[in-house]
Symmetry: C2
Subunit: 321 residues, 2 copies
């Protein structure tokens, strides 16, 4: 047995493989040529693959506990955006050497998020090379009910969940190597927590399917850029009211008002949901997490913020480096 077989054992532990997933959906887990999974009759599988590269999507030297959580959370967020229930996931991990302490931390962070979402690890591959984490996640939806990007219609209201800009507000600290405990105030710590420990909005996504939301996306690259994906797929535009964008107290404490608003518009990594629905469909007080109306879908293409047409080439895209 070589060192990478040993690493594989790290992942074949009940904290990761023993999560319930969708009941009875895992027929064969880790240990054969393939995993075997089942999907209930009348349901469909919703699937996504995401790669995080050291120095591009997360800082070199990141606490492995935080990386394990964040990598899985970012992937599961795609399931939330489709309104899916988590089913199971695969991990392809490339790392320079077998570092026991690092692996223990990484597995712990990943297991914490897996337990929170009830999603089991069912397969993977471990290889030697530059630190790279690829995750394939899957969930289930009743056939035909997945929340797509292409269903927004003029007259729909545009909503977002939670607060925006917090993770982006943490980025200057992250780039300096700060971990969560390096926050110099409760506000900084709150922002750093948003960056390092995003929470996939699974309950919201599933609730939106029931309410008849017309389109949804998770905000990974910034509100304006991600909303634009919905608009292009749906063939329409939007008018937004900047005063309506939800800002956290922490963001307002750490940043002047104008910078806080700018972060809320264009910074990514918050993994809140942006979605559209007829206003009559969404009883905001009944949502599993706070949601707020920020604008309206219109026929004319583009995004108008407080009446001004936004140049999307200018903002909306941002990566770690």
């Amino acid at each position: 047995m070589n060192e990478f077989d040993l690493i594989a054992r790290y992942f074949n532990q009940p904290a990761l493989t023993g999560q319930p997933g969708c009941d009875g959906g895992v027929v064969v887990g880790i240990g054969d040529d393939c995993a075997v999974v089942s999907v209930p009759d009348g349901w469909q599988l919703v699937q996504s693959i995401d790669t995080l590269v050291e120095g591009v999507h997360f800082p070199a030297g990141i606490d492995p506990v935080l990386l394990g959580w964040r990598a899985l959370a970012v992937s599961v967020s795609d399931l939330a955006a489709m309104g899916a229930r988590p089913h199971s996931f695969f991990l392809a991990l490339t790392l320079p050497k077998a570092d026991t302490a690092w692996l223990e931390g990484f597995c712990q962070g990943m297991a914490d998020l897996a337990a929170r979402c009830g999603i089991p690890l069912v397969g993977g591959d471990t290889t030697r090379g530059s630190l790279t984490v690829s995750l394939h996640v899957q969930g289930i939806v009743a056939a035909g009910s997945a929340l797509r990007r292409n269903g927004a219609r003029p007259g729909d209201t545009v909503y977002v969940s939670g607060t925006l800009g917090d993770a982006g507000g943490a980025l200057p600290l992250v780039l300096q190597g700060a971990s969560i405990e390096d926050g110099k105030s409760t506000s900084e710590t709150a922002l750093l927590t948003r960056y390092y420990r995003p929470e996939p909005r699974l309950a919201l996504g599933q609730w939106l399917v029931e309410q008849g939301a017309t389109a949804a996306i998770d905000i990974s690259d910034g509100l304006l850029g991600d909303l634009n994906h919905i608009l292009r797929a749906s063939g329409c535009g939007a008018t937004l009211n900047s005063d309506a964008l939800p800002l956290s107290d922490a963001l307002r404490v750490v940043y002047p008002e104008d910078q806080a608003r700018s972060l809320a518009q264009t910074a990514g990594d918050d993994y809140e949901l942006c979605f559209t629905a007829p206003a009559s469909a969404i009883a905001e007080s009944e949502s599993p997490i706070p949601v707020v109306a920020i604008g309206t879908i219109v026929e004319q293409s583009g995004i108008r913020l407080d009446g001004q047409l936004i140049d999307l080439a200018e903002g909306g895209f941002r990566h770690f480096s």
Copy 2:
């Protein structure tokens, strides 16, 4: 639109996304937060993730056409080993820069294999970093019929398909940077082709399910090591007859007899299937590709080759570097 969005467009082409897969199984392909797939009632999904790292699993500077084929073939081979019909696949590609000629070659090689297997690309992620190819592949099997590793029983016959050791025989040339056309004889070219263009044994795997094979694995790390995975999972051992191992004419021409036999026993990368079945179940003349009996499953653990107990720590495992 940044350069990596452009790359994503390379993969959203009909040669890759337009393969038939399992009819009607792809509900939503590339372009949303997730793909949506369906599985016919009474069937299960068989899934695997594999990563290939430059310099570890393939030589730096490899012809991208060959890499595209080989990467997908190696992954689909896991589906063959489970007896599955191909459904669809995901690509997570990390590469140092957007090199158009390289991407065209890579897509062409991958599309050639995708067309051969009828497996469509349904999603992916493209990131910047060291060249790394992760593939998630999935196929379908009638519920409960997947070929596992753990079903071998004493008295079963051990079989292999095709010929063994050919890809391993090409390895010294591969390590010198040889591509297929660098073979100095038809025999060398034949061995290099086996290394660079493996053929997933899909038809054989599906036939084995129908015949009632008891266990199967694809030979990626070498016959003895991979058979040992079946034996450990099944709690039994095997006796093998080295004269029965199928050697190609090409391997016999390039290598002396004893080296050729050694390669057939321990070299990997052939992606033939090793499987077990009651001898009465397998009519060798009716197999979609040649298969041959090489031994018998016994109660006593371990592998005995011509009566000699094999030390598996010594051979059976080999990687590119």
